[in-house]
């Protein structure tokens, strides 16, 4: 089965469901969610049957394969990650629909909530395509498919001021970032004469000195990717949009959108970082980005009192750590040092497990308490002891405590930074110094929630309204975090 059937299937399924939604009984919109879940599982199963064409066949010479689409590298891994995330988001939405329906045109009915699910499928298609791109044009098209769908998803609760505000902010800044991306593509095309990533690599290998126009184009591309993944200086939208958007959308943005953004970053940056002429400049830009992102994300998170905003800054902070893996680029795996690409994939996979689970807990707390401030978590250890222990494990993993999955990602990036510094990139010592500050701050703001859950008196005695989905998801995530924390080899195999 050609790999692109995956995207075709998901997109068709999403569009059909969107049309079908119009005819469904308003009371049973959640059937669509179940249908979406089945579709996502089917797409996930299809991953295992995906193939590229044989090199000599007719199909292989088809320009779609040669110019726009590839499943080389870690594309299939990312597709799987995005599909699992989308399925989790749908589960989360089922949990969250009571709040979602409160802010639609017909409050407190399921009417008007049905489109949410198929839209997730369509955004998923965009992201799955993005990670398979091998040409700047397909990057752009896939990115737009995703971003435009997200404009709707962010502003979905249209009777909620916060959601609308988030929608407008995301729309304006997203449009700006699209403009920057196209401008960057134009510069690169103008100088390299091609939009194909491989073509850019070939062009670079003929150059003796870096062309400033090309580097300017690269800087613009980086800015636009920075918007996607939430790296400084394009991180401004993150806290407001994350806070205002419906929680499932926030979860989707913070995990899948970031993952596809970094996958794209690896694809676009590979020719620049592999080439000796441009390596220094590209690496320096990424180093600056990583340092800024680490500082802004971690230090701003310290005094947040809203958990959703805290997760937003934490997502910026994680983007900073992942950017280090790009800045300390390692293109070929050797004994003891995995490639940047697999380190990024690994970090994102563990990040997905921890962050999705945190959003499940957040949704449950929001349902019970009606708000998302840290004070809503006070004394949770008395009200939901099992979930609190799971959350403690997950927060420890986010802070990067050893023997949890979250530690490996940090270990890898610090090791890459040390290796790069050893190999003669002194800027990396600065990065390592900033990592010390970042990790110290990280321990503070993640442990702030642990402290609230254990130290403080409960706000009320009523037990937490956590559905079975939430409980099962959090327990699974905590167990997986611990297993991967001790034995991460299975996840690493998927990436090699």
């Amino acid at each position: 089965m050609p790999a692109y059937f995956l995207e075709i299937f998901t997109l068709t399924f999403g569009i059909l469901l969107l049309m079908y939604e119009a005819f469904v009984d308003p009371k049973s919109k959640s059937n669509i969610a179940v249908a979406c879940l089945i579709g996502l599982v089917a797409a996930y199963v299809m991953i295992f049957f995906c193939m590229s064409p044989d090199p000599g066949s007719d199909q292989a010479s088809w320009s779609f394969w040669t110019r726009f689409y590839t499943i080389e590298g870690n594309a299939l891994f990312y597709k799987g990650l995005i599909l699992i995330t989308a399925a989790s988001v749908i589960l989360l939405t089922i949990d969250y629909k009571k709040i979602l329906s409160r802010f639609t045109d017909t409050p407190d009915t399921e009417d008007n909530t049905g489109e949410f699910y198929p839209l997730i499928l369509i955004a998923t298609t965009g992201m799955m395509w993005m990670v398979s791109a091998k040409d700047l044009v397909s990057v752009f098209v896939a990115l737009e498919l995703t971003t435009i769908t997200f404009y709707i998803l962010v502003a979905y609760m249209r009777r909620n001021v916060g959601s609308l505000e988030a929608g407008v902010k995301y729309l304006i800044l997203g449009a700006l970032s699209t403009g920057i991306l196209v401008y960057g593509i134009a510069w690169v095309y103008g100088i390299a004469g091609t939009t194909s990533i491989a073509g850019i690599g070939e062009f670079l290998s003929t150059q003796d000195t870096p062309s400033y126009g090309l580097l300017f184009g690269l800087a613009l591309l980086l800015l636009s990717i920075g918007f996607k993944v939430g790296a400084a200086p394009m991180q401004l939208w993150i806290p407001d949009v994350y806070q205002g958007a419906p929680t499932p959308t926030t979860a989707f943005l913070s995990v899948a959108s970031k993952a596809s953004g970094f996958a794209i970053a690896v694809i676009i940056l590979t020719p620049f970082l592999e080439n000796d002429v441009t390596h220094g400049a590209a690496s320096m830009m990424l180093t600056v980005m990583a340092c800024l992102t680490l500082i802004i994300g971690n230090l701003s998170a310290i005094n947040q009192s809203n958990f959703k905003r805290l997760l937003a800054y934490s997502s910026i902070a994680h983007a900073g750590f992942i950017t280090i893996a790009l800045a300390a680029w390692n293109g070929t795996a050797t004994e003891g040092s995995p490639t940047s690409s697999s380190v990024i994939g690994f970090y994102l996979a563990t990040y997905m497990i921890m962050t999705m689970a945190a959003f499940f807990l957040l949704a449950a707390v929001r349902k019970t308490e009606g708000h998302e401030e840290l004070s809503a978590f006070n004394g949770l250890s008395k009200r939901a002891p099992v979930l609190t222990i799971c959350t403690t494990v997950l927060l420890a993993a986010m802070a990067g405590l050893p023997l949890t999955a979250g530690f490996w990602g940090k270990l890898f990036v610090v090791k890459m930074a040390v290796d790069a510094a050893q190999a003669g990139n002194p800027a990396m010592w600065w990065v390592i110094g900033i990592v010390f500050i970042a990790v110290g701050a990280g321990f503070y703001y993640y442990f702030k929630l642990i402290a609230a859950m254990y130290w403080n008196k409960p706000a009320s005695d009523k037990p937490l309204e956590a559905s079975h989905i939430t409980k099962a998801y959090l327990i699974t995530a905590a167990v997986v975090t611990l297993i991967l924390g001790i034995y991460p080899a299975p996840l690493m195999w998927l990436l090699q």
Binding site: E335, G336, V414
Partner: protein
């Protein structure tokens, strides 16, 4: 396999307690089992049955390799003895049994894992198992300004560990990328001196923060004073030794030139521990803070042994001296913290000025506390004496009178003054607490129950045994 069992017993017991098995019973049984296995290990540590390897991440060359040599056997022995005393000593506040007992087991399990690991990654990772239990124990059940103190400990230890991690990764990177101690040892000679100096600096700061080396020590005394007794005993007694063990296991053998480059500064810092913190200790008004500060102060002597071997790499007394003193200090400080908890339980206060005459009401308690205090000062016949004497001898090892005093010799002479300081604060605290007339707080005090005396007696036996026959430990190191 044997070492895997020893590592898993406390951890599985802790998980069982969280899941719902009876807290105190499970903790005591598992601690007793660990103690028995630990003692058995001391007799059979050369046996191949203590080795264990499982590959965890082949792509990075990370294996869970467990194994023992003399030094790790002594450290494991210290861990299991203190663990047994710690779970036996404390009495949990109502409603917090799960946290109270499981945290001790997690801390000790992490320490045992770190001491058994033959791989840099797990050596580092197991130590961090203590972080959350400590945070919760101090923050929920601590004395005084417990929340602020819990934050301070956590941030200090987290940043210290991160610096340590960077140093360890640099070492791994500089020796070819393998995490196994054996591979690092094989390639260590090829590290350039400048690189050695950089790695050693990170390791001294990183480990130093965990050990409370001056000036990174300000978290330690308040933390021990505030922590509930079992946490204080395990932290001051065992976990702190992880840092020293790390310096002796990693920094000293693999980075001789790097350590030599920092010897001068290390001597100045350790004198900060002994003299500066020593005077701070003299001035303490509370028994728990005094013990906490004295624990920080005594780290200086062990650093002196490390400085001695850094200055003279062939120094064959320094390592045994450090190891014996680590063991002795761990036992004696754990005993003091455990007994201080009993004093607070009997009298309701630890303000030295509010105590007095306790020996009349509780002679056994007074005797045991006195024994531990004397050990801490360095009275001959008790374990700390042999350690301290060996440290001072190590300071003058290979000393050539014609060349005059080096920095280590000057440091040793100044460090001797610390013995006097210890005597001042310990004896004064003992006199004010146990002697003199009865005061309101001690009038209704009763003798320590037999159950409370058991852990103290176990620790006292260890102190006397090693004090009278240091060869018990020294033979293990041969």
């Amino acid at each position: 396999m044997g070492s895997l069992v020893l590592l898993l017993i406390p951890i599985i017991a802790a998980i069982a307690i969280i899941v719902g098995s009876p807290a105190r019973l499970t903790a005591v049984i598992s601690a007793a089992a660990s103690l028995v296995i630990g003692l058995y290990m001391a007799f059979t540590h050369t046996c191949d049955c203590w080795n264990f390897t499982a590959s965890m991440l082949p792509a990075l060359g990370i294996h869970l390799t467990l194994g023992v040599d003399g030094m790790s056997t002594i450290m494991v022995l210290l861990s299991v003895i203190v663990l047994f005393a710690a779970v036996f000593t404390g009495k949990s506040p109502e409603g917090h049994e799960k946290l109270y007992y499981s945290s001790s087991l997690f801390i000790a399990g992490g320490a045992i894992g770190a001491f058994l690991s033959q791989d840099v990654f797990f050596f580092y990772a197991f130590h961090e198992l203590a972080l959350i239990p400590t945070f919760l124990m101090i923050g929920m059940l601590g004395r005084g300004d417990r929340k602020a103190i819990a934050w301070r400990v956590t941030i200090f230890l987290a940043v210290g560990s991160m610096i340590l991690l960077a140093g360890l990764l640099w070492l791994v990177s500089a020796t070819g990328g393998s995490f196994a101690f054996s591979d690092i040892a094989a390639n260590a000679a090829s590290i350039a001196p400048a690189t050695q100096k950089g790695i050693a600096a990170l390791l001294i700061v990183g480990f130093g923060t965990l050990i409370s080396l001056f000036p990174f020590h300000s978290w330690a005394a308040p933390a021990y004073a505030s922590a509930p007794a079992p946490t204080a005993m395990l932290h001051a007694g065992v976990l702190k030794k992880f840092g020293l063990y790390g310096l002796l296991r990693v920094a000293v053998p693999f980075l001789p030139e790097g350590m030599a480059a920092w010897t001068d500064i290390l001597v100045i810092l350790l004198l900060g521990n002994i003299l500066w913190v020593g005077y701070v200790t003299v001035n303490q008004k509370r028994l728990d803070l005094m013990l906490g500060n004295s624990s920080v102060m005594h780290m200086g002597y062990i650093f002196l042994a490390i400085a001695a071997i850094s200055a003279v790499p062939g120094n064959d007394i320094a390592v045994p001296a450090a190891v014996v003193l680590m063991f002795a200090h761990g036992i004696s400080i754990a005993m003091l913290f455990g007994l201080a908890d009993t004093i607070e339980r009997k009298t309701g206060t630890l303000e030295i000025s509010e105590l007095g005459g306790l020996a009349k009401k509780a002679p056994a308690l007074a005797f045991l506390f006195g024994l531990a205090a004397m050990a801490s000062i360095g009275l001959p016949g008790l374990a700390n004496f042999s350690g301290e004497v060996m440290v001072f001898l190590a300071g003058f090892r290979d000393y050539v009178p014609a060349e005059g005093f080096g920095i280590v010799q000057i440091g040793t002479i100044l460090a001797l003054w610390g013995v006097v300081i210890s005597a001042v604060y310990m004896l004064r605290a003992f006199r004010k607490t146990f002697q003199g007339p009865l005061v309101p707080a001690t009038e209704d005090a009763t003798e320590a129950h037999f159950c409370v005396r058991i852990p103290a007696i176990v620790l006292a036996v260890a102190l006397i045994a090693v004090g009278l026959c240091p060869n018990l430990l020294l033979n293990l190191l041969k």
